[in-house]
């Protein structure tokens, strides 16, 4: 059994088993109308020869490659990698593989990667959010490729989606701070270019504060890349303002961690001197001291449901255009009433 296995073809199996190639194929594909004995004869032959089907040939003949493509801004973001991890595991159950491409929030890169994946012949596509080049939608539609967007989900979008509303929880977070008496709010957000989630969260913060009659001045809204270091530095910049904010709304948990760690270094007490909020509810959030008030993003759920729904679409079903998941506020200890004694 030491000869290279590459050259063993379906035809060899057929010969070994004394049946036709069609029958071997039927056994391989669990087609109906195959007798027990034929099946076992073929299986024995496959076993004996160590036959492995040739994926590309199969794909060419059957018009499906058994893989779906995922277009993700980056995997270097804990919440995405959690979602993708679940997506992949679930797809495996459906017997689909995952082809991944990242585009670092560059929508032209994304479009190019989309074309590449389509060219590979993926059976379906998953995109994140609704921010894409218009021609991405056209391409997917024209090629009649089953697809789904996830993470962000808004009402009137052209894109079918499974996700949550990013604006409302952000709005609620801001209201929560306002209700605690805070009026000097500041925001540390992620860049909004090519990122509708970041934009939606920012809008939530802004709307809530404007509605309450205490809009946040632009210089108190800073935008930094994803990262602990960035949050750390943002804290320092904000606390130099006169007067410094009494509460900081962060676009995601990582930025919030950066802010909290910087505060800890600077001797600024949370929540006594400063309230801080995050967004994502990473595992770490509850273990910080104080535990972080944030929004629980259903990353694992999204991964699962996207897998199920996309496979259904590939199978010809047409599930709901939009599936809205819950992203509840998780109020912990990093937010507290405005301290008026200071």
């Amino acid at each position: 059994m030491n000869k290279p296995l590459k050259n063993i073809l379906l035809a060899d199996v057929a010969q070994e088993a004394g049946v036709s190639t069609a029958s071997v194929s039927r056994v391989l594909n669990r087609a109906p109308h195959v007798s027990k004995q034929l099946r076992s004869r073929v299986e024995t032959a496959i076993e004996k020869l160590g036959y492995v089907p040739h994926g590309s040939a199969r794909a060419l003949a059957s018009r499906r490659i058994g893989a779906i493509g995922a277009l993700v801004p980056t995997l270097d973001n804990a919440i995405f990698s959690t979602g993708i991890n679940c997506l992949e595991q679930r797809l495996k159950h459906h017997d689909y593989r995952l082809l991944i491409a990242t585009y670092r929030y560059d929508l032209d890169d994304e479009l190019e990667a989309l074309h590449t994946l389509i060219q590979q012949g993926v059976d379906g596509m998953v995109l994140i959010g609704h921010d894409h080049r218009p021609s991405a939608l056209t391409t997917l539609t024209r090629r009649q490729l089953p697809f789904l967007t996830c993470w962000h989900s808004i009402d009137d979008a052209n894109w079918p989606s499974i996700g949550f509303d990013n604006t409302a929880p952000a709005h609620a977070l801001a209201e929560h701070l306002l209700s605690l008496g805070h009026r000097l709010l500041a925001v540390v957000g992620a860049p909004t270019e090519g990122n509708d989630r970041a934009r939606a969260r920012l809008q939530g913060f802004i709307q809530a504060t404007e509605r309450a009659g205490c809009p946040i001045p632009p210089e108190r809204i800073i935008t930094v890349a994803y990262g602990i270091a960035e949050g750390f530095q943002a804290f320092e910049a904000l606390m130099r303002l006169k007067p410094p904010p009494t509460a900081i709304l962060c676009g995601n948990d990582i930025l919030a961690f950066g802010v909290m760690l910087a505060a800890q270094r600077a001797g600024v007490r949370i929540p006594d001197d400063l309230s801080v909020t995050g967004f994502d509810d990473l595992p770490q959030a509850r273990f910080m001291t104080p535990a972080l008030t944030t929004v629980a993003v259903p990353a694992a759920d999204i991964g699962h449901q996207v897998a199920d729904a996309l496979v259904a679409r590939i199978a010809g079903e047409t599930p709901a255009h939009r599936q809205l998941l819950d992203a509840p506020l998780v109020i912990r200890e990093s937010t507290g009433p405005l301290n008026t004694t200071a």
Copy 2:
């Protein structure tokens, strides 16, 4: 231009351009010996028809699919997702796609996923570490599939590798603590089943302490899954021991964060009352208070170099069997001299 684009074939392009299918194929594949005018005529036709090559057909005829497979324990681990992220980006430069499968440290799952990826026809494979079912190596070799392991790299392994020595830095970490006067050490490690990296680190800790004549008793070596919560709980368990350890060696940064956050909650001062070490040097490590003493794992480098080396192997080159990267100790503030006043 609104008809479905699926049905436009290479032959259509050939007809439109008034050339043979072979010529179109040559243009597509940047083959030599194609005149300027023929090329431009074909390119115009491709543009006009919106032609996209059919990946599977191409793969079948050319015996390469333009994708490599990666077998990863999980993406839900910051250091892996960073490495994979870099790998994917680099592969894109080489015009290769990434097919991902996860196996949650279950080597039978890994073997199965390996077969699946091979069946898909990947042009090369990346695995993590040297812990695999023996038949994995046989399969790869028999199929003559270019492959590489990464992350862990030891001298006498059968596996070609690009990675670092996990034992030596662990050893050094333990020595560092010993040299600070600590004798009551404890370990919070990751499960070693199917994980040679975790095992190597543990070995490093054990060897160094035994060599120094103060071996760590088994009940002070606890093994928990990857996660902040797990580190948190491990701290609580260890501190209940009499006498409690004066230093804790953690198998990775996430566990160390858990330990530190638990210590913070419990009012245990680091490094005064307790020294803590990590392993990975996640971005957050330097921003903790105190900043975490750890080992800098070259995750991004690994991603890049694996991509380059694997592509080279696919191209028929045979780079070094082993490429050893540096994983330096990063001594920060979470470790300090044994406090004898307590």
